[in-house]
Amino acid sequence: MTGEPAKLPAAAVASPGFRLAGRAPIERTLEELLRVAERSLYAEETSRRGGLLQVFDARAKWIGFVGFAVAAGLARTFAVLGALFAGALVLALLSRLRLRELALRAWLPALLFTALVGGPALFLTPGPPAPGLPVALGISAIGARSVGFLLLRVETITSFTLLLVLTTPWARLLAALRSLRVPATVVVILGMTYRFLFLLLKSAHDLFLARRSRAVGTLPPRQARQLFSRTTGVLLSKTVNTSQQVYLAMVARGFTGDARLLDPLAMHGRDWFAVAASLAVSGVAIWAGR
């Protein structure tokens, strides 16, 4: 279903933290393309660590984490949200995920983004001033509660999503979707998209790097825009041509348009127990967080 990803840019593999000097659009794009490839590699690596969550069946994790996410989504009290977040931290530690890495990769970006988006609500929401804070700040109690709910909820649900993704290889994540009645065609498309994502990331990276290598200094904005349009167009042509080649290869191997998947998953006793336990905890959280 999903084979090994295409070969990644050598720079991404050799140096995960690779950053190009300068902040011109081409450099920023190169940097972003490498970061995407590096993040995918990181997820593949963490899903092979021998921790608690890595041993469970992917279907059990899907059901469990969606249950937790819904419970966090429905919670109306800080206590329940905090308890769920703490539970996610414990699960991360038991799964041999380093909290510092998680903080840098997910929690901090989510915190900064949500603070940026939700921060003004502290001052815009009318109401009595928040207790314990200087009145001169103009932060209302309702505003503080609103932003608190948003921050904690976003961090909690992000954590559960992250736990699911970082402890499950992509191929098993997709196989589990098939078992959960997602159409086979959709699952095959997701799998192929993931595989060819690396090919196109590499193509885009090569295109920009080739152009960057032939330029001295920074391109004027107008020329830079033309470069981006042409590169996108070339990438589009490559995409269509590759799809034709892949199609021919698939037909040559007997593809008739029907998607069939191998289902290597098996639910054991511990998986059923995990499903029951997570649904029970989610149910209690939903009840307690009303």
Partner: protein
Amino acid sequence: MHIPDGYLSPSTCAALYAAVMPFWAVALRRVKALLVTRFVPLISLFAAFSFVIMMFNLPLPGGTTGHAVGIAMAAIVLGPWGATIAISVALAIQALLFGDGGILALGANCFNMAVAGSWTAAAVYRLVAGRSPIDARRRVVAGGLAGYAAINVAALLTACELGIQPMLFHDASGAALYAPYPLGVALPAMMLGHLTFAGLAEALLTAGVVRYLQQSERGLLDFGMLGDSGNHASRPSPAFVSSRGLWALLGLLLVLSPLGLLAAGSAWAEWSPAELADPAARGAIAAASGGVALPVATPSGLVRLAAVWTAPLPDYAPAFLRSAAMGYLVSALVGVGIIVLSGVGLQVVLGRTRRGGPPAVLPQR
């Protein structure tokens, strides 16, 4: 644009999953029927392409940069149904693999960008490009406008979904449980950035790619990949001709129309003079308006103009029906019926004026 989890209530997420499901089902069936075996690799590669171009930092006039989503590019090459699937798959991988956009909110993100964005882009491109030659500059403009319209429609829907959250979901103290801004704040905050930078990035990139395709890959323009042998610009996209799926969706939306009863109070800026005079309602309006106090007296112009027209079905509640849900359903049926009859009437009139010409449904090439 990508709504993360936690900003929308689970019920909003569920409703938007329900809204996007029929589009996914119809799109899968239609595109699969058109492309048969080519469908899987083409959509997969295009989804990967959409994903990759979302990483591009396009330089914009003024020295800043912006990200394009590529909705219009997908719609122009694959057609709206194909683009619906390709963009949805790209969004799913972004959510699952990179946490960009939530899993619970995936239905909302797909509805905004993959469905509304793709269909807007296809419609605007077709409308503006008209019957112009394949290498006409007008098609470059059409591509740019399609990109601009698509991203802004998607942003508008996102702003509406975020803006209704504090109105519908808050705790006993009045604190918002999800996105904290009312429509009055969410709409301008969201649209300002998209009407300027994000819209510009999408327009410039789409126009540039259309220009490139005119010079190098003409067969890809005008939904060129939605056929079995290259360019089918000579006939209208089948997606536009048959509309069975849309009728089914319309029927579903009619049945779901009583969901409107879940929303308490009036929508922002749709207050009646009676509400503006009621102290309790005034408090709710002020709270939904970011604390801006209302004028002491109801504006005289509003009172005067409100009396000019009395709706036959006020507040979607016909007087002869006791059930509020049934009232919504009947109102929706009446509204849809009037629109459909108007459309049929317009088609008849246009058909007469174009006697002997092509059908009036959509322009043909």
